[in-house]
Amino acid sequence: MSNNSRSMQSALGRARGLGAAKADAVGHWSAQRITAVALVPLALWFVFAGVIGNIDSDHAAFRAWIAQPINATLMMLFIFTSFHHGALGMIVVLEDYVHAPAAKHITIMLAKMAAAAGGLFCAISVLTLALGG
């Protein structure tokens, strides 16, 4: 053992956090898959019901559509799941291609903030339409 001051630490304890992903790689991996599975029906619903179903809609028609609880619920689920999935994907891409540690951590932080802000704005917009006076 090379480091006597850490001899009380287990082999697992020494190895943890030293991998390429540093922390919670399994959590990231499974969250990416769970959001992917959820997005299969949600994205198809968004394209065929949300976008195509509202091709000709004026403001009143779109508002009436999104004010239906099932549509508001599915739209909120689509927003949260897609922004979460997008942030997870962008983090992987940045980890792979941005090698300088400072640039990597800053761009990953910005990707998380942008996803949170964009998702929140979309959610507030849906609530304004569905619940606003």
Partner: protein
């Protein structure tokens, strides 16, 4: 801790003959479509829902932009990119179960994936044109 430069950094884009092999080309296209959706797809969603929340005039402008020739071209590109990422994402989920992980499986699922992208895109635009006209 800075990256050690005698260790390989993944994934490599320069060392493979991407232009002569279909499998790696489809693989990197999954990332490219994912990044496009995370950047541009989310901007479409933010603009569309935001315009609806800001009122009838803003929403009428948004609907007019999306139904202009340039808007239709952008939406067409968006459907192809979205259906590609969706169908190829399902392909990845199948691989995650351990199925189709072979040269033959990669080839077979590639054809199924590209057929699905074509089918979904045609379906979306045929339904869209029927609804719009």
């Amino acid at each position: 801790m800075s990256p050690s430069h005698d260790r390989p950094l993944s994934p490599h884009l320069q060392v493979y003959k991407l232009h002569t092999k279909i499998a790696p080309l489809l693989s990197i296209a999954h990332r490219l479509t994912g990044v496009a959706l995370a950047f541009l797809g989310t901007l479409f969603l933010i603009y569309w829902l935001g315009a609806a929340a800001y009122g009838p005039e803003a929403f009428a402008t948004a609907q007019a932009i999306f139904s202009s020739p340039l808007g239709i071209l952008m939406l067409f590109g968006w459907t192809v990119v979205l259906f590609y990422h969706l169908a190829n994402g399902v392909r990845h989920l199948v691989w995650d179960t351990g199925c189709q992980v072979s040269n033959e499986g990669v080839r077979r699922t590639a054809y199924m994936m590209m057929g699905s992208v074509l089918g979904l895109t045609v379906l979306a635009w045929v339904i869209g044109l029927i609804v719009a006209l």
